[in-house]
């Protein structure tokens, strides 16, 4: 019996649910150009998992990192949903630091 594995599955369910929440909020108040920040955070988390001695903590952090990278790719589509009127649109967004560099990179979308 392995209850820990099942717990990891439910943890991923919860963290993806949290992803719905933060993608909507970050897009509404900051805009989709924030995408490199959650992506970098997710990549850092996954790199950190490689150096954790305990497989359980490594797994929890890895799930969180994977979900953050997905969320970063979802921000652009969320921006379009807000512009279409499917979500509240906020005209006064707070741009991320380094917005002019970010604008030169095509925002990832899968």
């Amino acid at each position: 019996m392995m209850w820990e594995g099942l717990a990891l599955g439910f943890f991923s369910f919860g963290i993806i649910g949290f992803g719905f929440y933060w993608v909507i909020r970050l897009e509404r108040f900051g805009g989709y150009l924030w995408w490199p920040y959650p992506m970098a955070l997710g990549i850092l988390m996954i790199i950190t998992t490689l150096f954790l001695p305990d497989a359980g903590w490594s797994a929890l952090l890895g799930i969180t990192g994977g979900s953050f990278i997905w969320g970063a790719t979802e921000l652009k589509e969320q921006a379009v949903r807000a512009e279409l009127g499917w979500f509240p649109f906020n005209p006064d967004k707070k741009n991320p630091p380094g917005v002019n560099w970010i604008k030169r990179i095509k925002a990832p979308h899968l």
Partner: protein, 165 residues
């Protein structure tokens, strides 16, 4: 020694979400009836979670970390498939609402279109423009009528004067 448990979990989470998104859209668009796919996804999802639960926690010659990784990946993919089963139903509602493009070659979608529901246009297939789609462009007042338009207005007035004379 590097710890790869987290890496495999991250991969399972990311690919599960990604392929789930793509797979549900494709499956819903190509199924005449969504319920067989829903049942298969739900059964596979529950089955993977049972497999994750029944994974032995000790096995000779296999490290406990590997067993946890296998069990964790099975459960993550299992729960993702169960969610995909629910998303099949939600995707059908998106099609009816026009929030996702209908496939006219699918009889079920064709019936929605015939009933005035949905659209074949993919409304999400565009770049963000920075302001709501049906709103005027901010800070850009309506342009003055162009020279040719004004000329044509004058020309029409003159024409009307000639006509009435």
């Amino acid at each position: 020694m590097l710890q790869f448990a987290g890496f495999w979990m991250a991969l399972a989470t990311f690919l599960g979400i990604w392929w789930g998104h793509v797979g549900v859209r494709w499956l819903e668009a190509h199924s005449r009836n969504i319920w067989p796919a829903i049942v298969v996804l739900a059964v596979a999802g529950v089955g993977l979670n049972i497999a994750a639960l029944l994974m032995p926690s000790i096995m000779p010659n296999v490290s406990a970390d590997v067993l946890l990784t296998l069990s964790g990946v099975a459960s993550i993919i299992g729960i993702t498939l169960m969610w995909d089963a629910l998303e099949m139903y939600r995707q059908q509602n998106r099609i009816k609402k026009g929030h996702a493009p209908a496939n006219p070659a699918n009889p079920r979608h064709a019936a929605y279109l015939a009933a005035g529901m949905g659209t074949t246009e993919d409304l999400l297939d565009r770049e963000p423009q920075g302001y709501p789609i049906n709103a005027p462009i901010p800070h850009h007042p309506a342009p003055h009528p162009t020279l040719t338009e004004r000329q044509s207005v004058v020309a029409q007035r003159e024409y009307a004067e000639v006509e009435s004379a």
